[in-house]
Amino acid sequence: MVGVAFTVFLAGSFFRLISMWRLAKKKDGLIFSYISIFFALRSIVHWILPFAGVSMRKHPAMTIVAFLFHVCLFAVPIFLSAHVILFKESWDISWWRLPDMAAEIMSWSVIGSCLFFLGRRIFLPEVRYLTSLSDYLILAAVAVPFISGLWSYHQWAAFQVVMIVHIISGEIMLMIIPFTRLSHMLFFPFTRGYMGSEFGAVRHAKDW
């Protein structure tokens, strides 16, 4: 089952990147001539560092929560001791493990961040205007694996059932990455890189 999830994630990502590449080529082949590695990387670096851009300095709370969220979102599933132990059992490979205490704090941070994003979507009119049902569903898809993970770690009521929810929801999240808005994880370097190239090489302007 885990194998299926990883396969769908990897094959799906590959497929989406290729088909997006081909679509771009067909619709507007010229964009490839704009791409400049230097300006692309310059833009990516400015957007990947906290507070390196104007927009981030304007919204400090959002910036802090968003960076905290993304760091924890990646670090916890990859370095959680229980996950590393399971990789070790199945494929005899292992790597550094997060202390359980740190993983716990980071998981709570992810859940807290999801609540923050939810509040933002509900209470900020300019954000609510852009929000559709799928945004709420995706927030839930991200939060459920963390809530169920903490639940089973603490062995709260009926943790055997919650553990199964954890496994399935985690696999669902992995599998929907290529096909939903979560695909910004795949496309981020390209969209950002394109913007950076156009602003840098064509308009001679900053895009951060």
Partner: protein
């Protein structure tokens, strides 16, 4: 008044005499040591019943201890050969008629220096969880073995 005091002193004197007698001393010491032995034997005996797996290689455990009532478990699971778990190897081959009872798993499975803890955890999980998975009975989830009480 004086008569009472006199009786009291007599009593004390009597006890002093008795306790200084050799036989009384011997009696006292032997009763004491028998009691001591009984308590010791009881403690040792109750330690014999293994209730959790507690490998000394895990110095500070990060998870709750693993519930494992050694004899009850093996009876219920109908495991006849001790070396189903306490196995012995020679030249990379498993010996059917030998075992490693009395050794901790870590004595053999912790020697490789490279991330030995992960290797040790792995063999425990493969042996315990592997059999449960194969027989489709017995715990396979973290919290079912590492139980918080």
């Amino acid at each position: 008044m004086t008569k009472q005091k006199h009786n009291f002193c007599l009593a004390i004197e009597f006890f002093r005499k008795i306790s200084s007698m050799k036989q009384t001393k011997i009696l006292f010491y032997s009763v004491f040591s028998i009691l001591f032995l009984l308590v010791g034997a009881f403690a040792a005996f109750s330690q014999e019943d293994i209730e959790t797996v507690n490998d000394s290689a895990f110095e500070n455990q990060t998870r709750p201890p693993v519930v494992f009532f050694h004899d009850t478990h093996n009876e219920n699971a109908a495991i006849e050969e001790c070396n189903a778990c306490h196995h012995m190897f020679e030249d990379g081959k498993r010996l059917d008629d030998d075992d490693s009872i009395g050794m901790e798993c870590s004595e053999c499975h912790c020697s490789k220096m490279k991330d030995s803890m992960a290797d040790l955890i792995r063999v425990y999980h493969l042996q315990c969880g592997g059999c449960h998975l194969k027989q489709k009975t017995g715990p396979v989830m973290c919290g079912e073995c590492h139980r918080k009480r």
